[in-house]
């Protein structure tokens, strides 16, 4: 089938179809690990690579549309691929390639759903995510959106024997459904009287300011529920750890970004001219989520929950970028709006690679040790060198350290915030620079969290004897992780090229393509008229040179005698692994400083306790303030409604008697109709 390069949409669709086919093939032999693992998942990875390549080609091509035969009789599926969709498709393809490769080696024994069925749900999940990015009418978008939620729900409850996992799956699916309902309402408002639900009609419809604001609010709620913004984030730390690691990597890495894609699509494409004040809400909620996520990540003791909260943080930063872009766009500073959008999209792409790598790392650790609790890990660097060193790249990237990609998107975001003081609205021009401080705080805290994550798992002494038998992961898994690490490094070292591409995408979306800066290829100058620039390659070369020179000089000057001895135990004879800092310990400063944010339950023994138990559980206040009362309200209403069904036939007859009389009275009262 000749791939027509200047019209990649059919090729993209074919590849999504290929994914679905691979999934269906998994059903043929559900219980065989070899068939699903060794053949189907690598095939899925190759299709992922293909999708990334085709979408990358599509980046430069103009937007194109196609109408499928399926769908409602008078509203068939409209699909459209434009630059924005292509960027996210590239991200989906590239991340899926690495994760599928890892998954090929990961799924071994039949714990939970059989591998064939898991392969089916996994590839259906990928295909529906692709469809979400391509959908061009409300019905297709909703079908793809909820199919994505449905497939990921099944993946989350793959080990359904454990009650917590079932509870997490239920919570996830209910919040996803609530989000979908608000999206349905949003599309209802968006069509603005034309009653055609294709996105083109919505683009053409000009909404009254009130309706536009309502549509934006509903879209923000809907997409916020999927992205895990603070009030609606409770499902994320439950669902991601419950899923098998490749799936949580896919959910954290890629699925959450469909929410950012959706927000950009609705705000700039469908609504067209967003009012600047709208931007403040995603900005405030984004920063709130970022801070809330990272603070909670710092006190977690389960490694996958820690990464899930870190996803809440990164998505919060992305939404802050989008909010800032809306503010700039609203006040007419188009160049800065483009910069903020580039920062948001760049951060999404970075996070896709970084977070997937970390989740895959935890997957490898989980399979090697069978442990998820940080209190029972440690010292794995010596037993799992490959995993440890590759995950170190991810850790440094997500902590936002210079040569790697995490720093670049934060740098762009901070640059955008720097120029926010020129916003011509008083008060706002003072508040926005303060937000820069919150972004910096979150970035620094992310460093703190990642040091804790890496230090407690890989470094130090093994806290359990069983860890001695831990073995490194297979070559397929290493390959998958290496691909993602390479992605992190490449995105970190060549930001100028990436920003150029994203510039066109954001420019196309916001209606003003930024001029290409006259800078050497290795230097990133986001705003031609401003002096800020960042050249990671030169930066890395100089650092490497200095380190090599130091090492050589020290080697030359210094005699090579090295002696090994026991670590210094300051006189205390038996230094064992329990004396290391535990995960709770490492989180203690955060718990102490940000105490009002947590719901801390302490279980301290009284002095006469036979076997004292020290237990500190850190809960989420929002769960107690928002979700528990909501559940209680619904239950109270249900009890109220139950009064109708009291069991006595006389009351039932009375209901029908009264209904008859009221309706007759209503008809009579309205008077004879001539």
């Amino acid at each position: 089938m000749p791939v027509d390069l200047n019209a990649p949409l059919p090729a993209c669709l074919a590849l999504l179809g290929a994914w679905a086919l691979i999934g269906a093939a998994g059903l043929l032999r559900p219980s065989s690990v070899r068939f699903a693992g060794r053949t189907l998942f690598p095939l899925g990875a190759i299709v992922g690579l293909g999708l990334a390549a085709v979408a990358a080609v599509g980046l430069a091509r103009p937007a194109e549309q196609v109408v499928l035969a399926i769908g409602l009789p008078d509203l068939p599926f409209h699909l459209r691929r434009d630059a924005l969709a292509s960027v996210f498709l590239v991200m989906l393809g590239a991340a899926a390639a690495g994760i599928s490769l890892f998954a090929a080696g990961y799924f071994r024994r039949g714990e939970g759903t059989p591998p064939g069925l898991l392969c089916f749900q996994y590839h259906l999940f990928l295909a529906s995510m692709g469809l979400v990015l391509l959908a061009d009418d409300a019905y297709a978008f909703m079908v793809a959106w909820e199919s994505m939620a449905l497939a990921s729900y099944f993946l989350v409850v793959s080990q359904h024997r454990i009650p917590e996992i079932r509870r997490a799956g239920f919570l996830y699916f209910v919040v996803a459904h609530v989000g979908a309902i608000s999206l349905l309402l949003c599309f209802g408002v968006l069509q603005g009287g034309s009653w055609l639900f294709t996105f083109d009609a919505m683009r053409a419809a000009s909404l009254a300011p009130g309706a536009a604001t309502l549509a934006f609010a509903l879209a923000l709620i809907g997409f916020g529920a999927k992205a895990g913004l603070v009030p609606l984030h409770v499902w994320l730390p439950e669902a991601h750890p419950a899923a098998p690691s490749p799936v949580s990597a896919l959910m954290s890495g890629v699925m959450l970004k469909t929410a950012v894609y959706g927000t950009l699509r609705v705000t700039f494409d469908l609504l067209g001219e967003p009012h600047w004040s709208w931007g403040l809400v995603p900005l405030a909620v984004g920063l709130g989520s970022a801070f809330y996520g990272v603070v909670f990540a710092a006190v977690q003791t389960d490694m996958k929950r820690l990464l899930a909260y870190s996803s809440v943080e990164n998505l919060g930063l992305a939404f802050a970028g989008v909010g800032l872009a809306i503010v700039f766009h609203g006040v007419g500073m188009r160049a800065l709006a483009v910069l903020a959008t580039i920062a948001a999209i760049y951060h999404c792409v970075n996070h896709a690679f970084m977070k997937s790598l970390l989740f895959l790392g935890t997957g490898a650790v989980l399979h090697a040790t069978g442990e998820r609790n940080l209190g029972r890990l440690g010292g794995l660097l010596r037993r799992m060198p490959w995993t440890a060193w590759i995950v170190l790249v991810g850790v440094l990237a997500i902590a936002g350290l210079p040569p790697l990609n995490g720093f670049v998107s934060e740098w762009l975001l901070l640059q955008a915030f720097l120029f926010s003081s020129e916003v011509p609205v008083n008060f706002i021009d003072m508040l926005l620079p303060l937000c820069a401080a919150v972004v910096a705080l979150c970035a620094a805290l992310a460093g703190y969290v990642m040091v804790k994550f890496y230090g407690v798992i890989f470094l130090g002494q093994p806290r359990e004897a069983a860890l001695a038998r831990a073995h490194d992961c297979g070559w397929l898994e290493r390959l998958g992780m290496l691909w993602l690490a390479a992605g992190c490094i490449a995105l970190g070292l060549f930001p100028a090229q990436v920003v150029a591409v994203l510039g066109e995408v954001a420019g196309g979306l916001l209606g003003e393509v930024p001029p290409r800066p006259a800078a050497p290829w290795w230097l990133l100058v986001p705003l031609p008229d401003r002096e800020a620039s960042y050249g990671p390659l030169a930066f890395l070369l100089v650092a490497a040179a200095v380190i090599v020179v130091t090492a050589v000089v020290v080697r030359a000057v210094y005699h090579q005698r090295v002696r090994r001895s026991a670590a210094w135990d300051c006189g205390f004879a038996r230094l064992d692994a329990r004396m290391q800092d535990t995960a709770e310990g490492f989180g203690q400063p955060i718990r102490n400083i940000f105490q009002p944010f947590f719901r801390i339950q302490r279980e301290l023994p009284d002095p006469f306790d036979a076997e004292p138990r020290y237990r500190v559980t850190v809960g989420d206040r929002i769960w107690g303030y928002a979700y528990v009362p909501l559940g209680a309200l619904v239950r109270r209403l249900a009890d109220l409604a139950a009064y109708v069904q009291r069991g006595r036939i006389a009351t039932y007859l009375l209901y029908s008697f009264l209904t008859l009389l009221t309706l007759l009275a209503l008809v009579l009262w309205n008077g004879p109709r001539s």
Binding site: L396, G460, Q588
Partner: protein, 315 residues
């Protein structure tokens, strides 16, 4: 990249590496005088480093390669930071990294040091790492606000541009800059483990932060770490000069004679700064660890005040 630019770049990096221990020795000497103790010789740090280089390296049984690589990485990052900060003249490498990249660089050093500390798995290593990271994440927003205020004035985050803009401004009392300078000083003290936050001289388990991480290091690795710490103090001082005492910097275009003028200016500034640090250290006592957040919150508040004053009064 002309030859002279490369030459000035190398000169500046060499000068920084060489002068750093001297600056540390000078600060310790001033402190001794102020506390009327007999002061150790100014070149004591050089001797300590040379001595350490000749000792046998003792490593813990299960120290991983990360533990041995970390000193080189930390020292390397500090030298690169020195290469970026325009202590004497604007440098070609400035275009590659601006102030935010500098903050990132310091963060890299801090992360690597913490990871190395946690690697051996003793109580003190992780203890120190945790506190170092805490001070780190509290100081970074304040440092960033300081840079932001400076960049608001000069419309750019590149250090040479900032210092040039500040240098060419009309002489006068700028309250915003004053507040920012105070904030910067507090951050400097916190980041370099000076008295109010951490006592550089002590090995008292409960209070040490920076020293706890170096506990397991010995010989050449310890030397590198000590040298890196001195270099970090020197870098912070140079950032302070670039932002608040920008005069005497040779701009890129000027020839060797401007450079010649810049060296004594730098030495003078270093002497004054060293004395300043010593005075602050003798006057203040060490804070409890969980008072450090308030200390750094004060720094952040000063920086924000500086920014608000700049926005409102335009000064």
């Amino acid at each position: 990249m002309e030859r002279t630019a490369i030459l000035t770049q190398l000169l500046e990096m060499g000068a920084a590496v060489a002068l750093a221990p001297l600056f540390l020795g000078w600060v310790t000497q001033c402190r001794a005088w102020l506390q009327n103790r007999s002061a150790p010789p100014v070149w004591l740090p050089y001797r300590a480093i040379r001595k350490l280089f000749h000792k046998d390296a003792v490593l813990a049984q299960d120290a991983s390669p990360l533990f041995r690589i970390a000193p080189y990485v930390v020292f390397g990052t500090m030298v690169v930071a020195a290469a970026i900060i325009p202590s004497m003249s604007t440098l070609p490498l400035n275009r590659a990294a601006d102030a935010i990249a500098l903050v990132g660089l310091f963060a890299t050093a801090r992360v690597f040091m913490s990871l190395a500390a946690m690697d051996v798995g003793t109580a003190f290593g992780t203890f120190g790492a945790r506190r170092e990271m805490m001070v780190g994440f509290l100081a970074e927003p304040a440092l960033l606000m300081v840079i932001f205020v400076a960049s608001l004035i000069s419309q750019s985050t590149a250090l040479p541009v900032i210092s040039e803009a500040l240098a060419t401004q009309a002489l006068g009392l700028y309250p915003s800059l004053a507040f920012t300078a105070v904030a910067f000083t507090l951050v400097l003290l916190a980041e370099n483990a000076r008295i109010p936050v951490d006592n550089p001289a002590t090995h008292l388990e409960l209070t040490m932060i920076h020293e706890a991480m170096l506990l397991e290091y010995s010989a050449r690795h310890l030397a590198l770490m000590e040298w890196a710490a001195a270099l970090k103090l020197f870098n912070y001082a140079c950032i302070g000069f670039a932002l608040f005492l920008p005069w005497g910097l040779a701009t890129g275009a000027a020839g060797p004679q401007a450079l010649a003028l810049a060296i004594p200016a730098l030495l003078a500034k270093l002497a004054v700064a060293g004395l300043g640090i010593a005075v602050i250290e003798t006057l203040s006592a060490k804070l409890r660890v969980f008072r450090v957040p308030e200390f750094l919150a004060a720094a952040f508040l000063f920086a924000v005040l500086g920014m608000l004053v700049h926005q409102l009064l335009g000064a």
